[in-house]
Amino acid sequence: MDTDVADALDGLDLFKGFSYPELKVVGRYLVRLSKKQGEVVFSEGEPGTYMLFLLAGRLSIVKAGGHGERLLCREGRGRMVGEMALLDQEPRSATCVADTECAMLALNVEALNRMADEYPLLAYRLMSSLAKILSRRLRRTSGMLVEFMEN
């Protein structure tokens, strides 16, 4: 139902500033996805075409390395993962595992392109919002890097 999805999107960082009717429209381009505890959501190296919004539960992002798996981060309710696949459709750069039972919404490239055709203003605001979030993250990570290098 439109309103269920709109309620779920309301409050997510990416959709700050979107009105409720707009969230209902965006919701039509998303697909529900659920995973049980321990299930792999996507694997490093496999083709990826969608990003995920985590509505409930917790995910771990892990990367294979020379000395075994390395935990990159954990994500909780309201966070997004896998946006790189939406942007360039390269193989997944890490594995995503459900730490707990998870409820998610997926946005894939095909749906985004449809949104850009049918509701260009919404697609524009969505992409602009995504760029803002990524640039903030980059400033934070760059800041952390500078701190490491200064100490």
């Binding site: 990159l72 946006e83 992409m127 803002k132 990524l134 980059l138 490491f148 290098m149």
Partner: protein
Amino acid sequence: METATILKLLGKVTIFEGFGPGDLEDFLAQTHGSTYATDSEIFAEGEPGRHMHIILSGKVDVFRKSGGRPVHLVKLGPGETFGEMSLVLDTNIGRTASIHAIEPTATLTIDYENLARIPSVAAKLYRNISRTLATRLKISTDLVVFQSQYGTDVPPSATLGKPRRKPAVKSAGG
């Protein structure tokens, strides 16, 4: 410069990846041209401004100030862009670097308001900007994780497959 030449050049511009046939023309209609003499300042770090430039001809130098001295970052030439971060960052954050023309330079400029008039094209532009940011973020994150695991004994450039610099040798004191 002729429209045909501009369009041919813009076809090589990475920030326009995925633009369809009409998109470039829609984009062009929202831009205006600027020219800069050698050694002229295009904009300074910290200044307000919400427009990006696509270089049609010439060359520019990108630098930041650190401890009062300019730190050169990169030189940019035809087909490359600068200023796109001003379309993304909060308005209270000024230009993230300074840009000087080091040759006579011609650019096309588009600002935030004009871009909003062509939302379909703008969505593609922001997607491309996001892609660049996400790639930089991946590199940055890898570096941070590396640093946290190995400390500062190994320079972060080692993670990029570049030759290692010798760590600075501290004198024993006295």
